[in-house]
Symmetry: C2
DNA sequence: CGCGGTGTTGAGTGGAGTCAAACTGCGTGG
DNA sequence: CCACGCAGTTTGACTCCACTCAACACCGCG
């Protein structure tokens, strides 16, 4: 990959402006660019955190098996570092991560991050803000999940996917295509019930389905279902 | 309150060691000590964040009404700042807070915090670690809540209360005494089901109840129920 | 003594999980 | 090219967990 593109992506990153020339050079030198095919493991639950990962292009799923085989699944946000929290706690990954589609990532070794954090208060402040927002999102989601029932939870998930990955050119079809299983894990449902509920939504003219492609026909109605519970 | 005791509590706080003499003086000067009776509102949902609060003694409940009148309830941890996250996000309280029992707090104006964060990388690092741990706890709890059923959730809550506030002198009775209603909110249950499940636990010789006093008779069994789901 | 808030328990209902059967699309190999 | 098998999806029937509603008991308080 040409050097120019790397710089472009780094410049888009909000941290970039806070860095000194020396710090930028340090990152440019240590940065590893990786292009991965779909369904490739990036790291495993329990391993030490060696890099921070920035999702440039594609989709990464962060997950763990829970009680009774129920998976817990999160999706990484394009343009952001994902799953940075364990670096700041015990230094071990509590989840595994793998690519869902063809994906490009930047890897930065933690030692470099460490040195920069030590030097640069602004970057520290940025991390604080980022983590605070993560707490906030976690909390809101947790509250939402617990007090909504299936329809509301699935609606919330669909809106979340739209926010994260956006739509195809038609402006209605979700760009990301998940299996029913992953939709179920994210929404804390069973695959059966995801299927049932999606069917219900289509017969209510809220969605239209074509295999894994989901088209949102009536956005306001979907938001209504999500808000209502 | 005598100055000596204040110093003692501040010295126990992990941040204290990271501060310069000047910064310590700044805090000592701005610090407000407050003793509040039970059931006193500290701040309301939506208000601007003006202080960071350190819970010295007693119990503080942080809460919000959710969809359909279901409350969401958290408890503050003695010896720690509580609910600091909104200061780092939008600067408004997403929840209300009130004392549950007779309580003593320290209030530090946010401007003072701001100035110190700007000067002191170590304190920044401390905040990062604190927030990272908060994300972690939130996440684990969210996962646990969703995949456990009632018995497991209530067991988890009881263990959580034990961890937070400890036991009375007998070593078995939980020091904190919550209403069935608050137990329900924390565990995402209805008061009816809290009552039922507590009864079930006593008839299984896991707990013994006397009004609001809860005595844990068989800790390992309770942990087993919590872990199992 | 009566009242209100809180806790307990029961009966009935409905939402969500489980299990299983049919159907689909897809890749593989004969 | 077709046959086969597999994995994922859809749908139905059944079961069970948890919520609702209501009646009753309990304690504290005026």
């Amino acid at each position: 990959m040409p050097k120019r593109d790397q710089d472009a992506h780094m410049r888009n990153n909000p941290i970039y402006d806070m860095l000194t020339e020396g710090q930028r050079a340090m990152i440019a030198h240590a940065l590893v660019v990786e292009k991965l095919p779909r369904r490739t493991r990036i790291y495993n639950e329990g391993e030490r955190v060696e890099y921070l990962y920035l999702l440039v292009e594609g989709c990464v799923k962060v997950f763990r098996k829970g009680i009774g085989g129920n998976d817990y699944v999160q999706l990484a946000m394009p343009g952001h570092f994902f799953n940075i929290r364990p670096y700041f706690t015990d230094g071990r990954h509590p989840f595994s991560a793998e690519t869902y589609s063809e994906t490009e990532l930047y890897k930065i070794p933690v030692e470099v991050i460490e040195r920069i954090l030590h030097q640069n208060v602004q970057v520290c402040r940025y991390c604080i803000a980022a983590l605070a927002q993560e707490v906030s999102k976690q909390e809101e989601r947790s509250i939402g999940l617990m007090q909504k029932q299936m329809r509301g939870r699935l609606a919330e998930t669909l809106l979340y996917l739209a926010e994260l990955y956006g739509y195809e050119e038609d402006g209605y079809t979700l760009r990301i295509q998940l299996s029913r299983n992953d939709l179920a894990s994210i929404s804390y449902m069973t695959p059966s019930n995801v299927s049932r509920t999606l069917s219900a939504f289509t017969s209510e003219r809220i969605l239209s389905l074509e295999r894994k492609k989901i088209k949102i026909m009536n956005l306001s109605q979907l938001e209504h279902i999500s808000d209502l519970g």
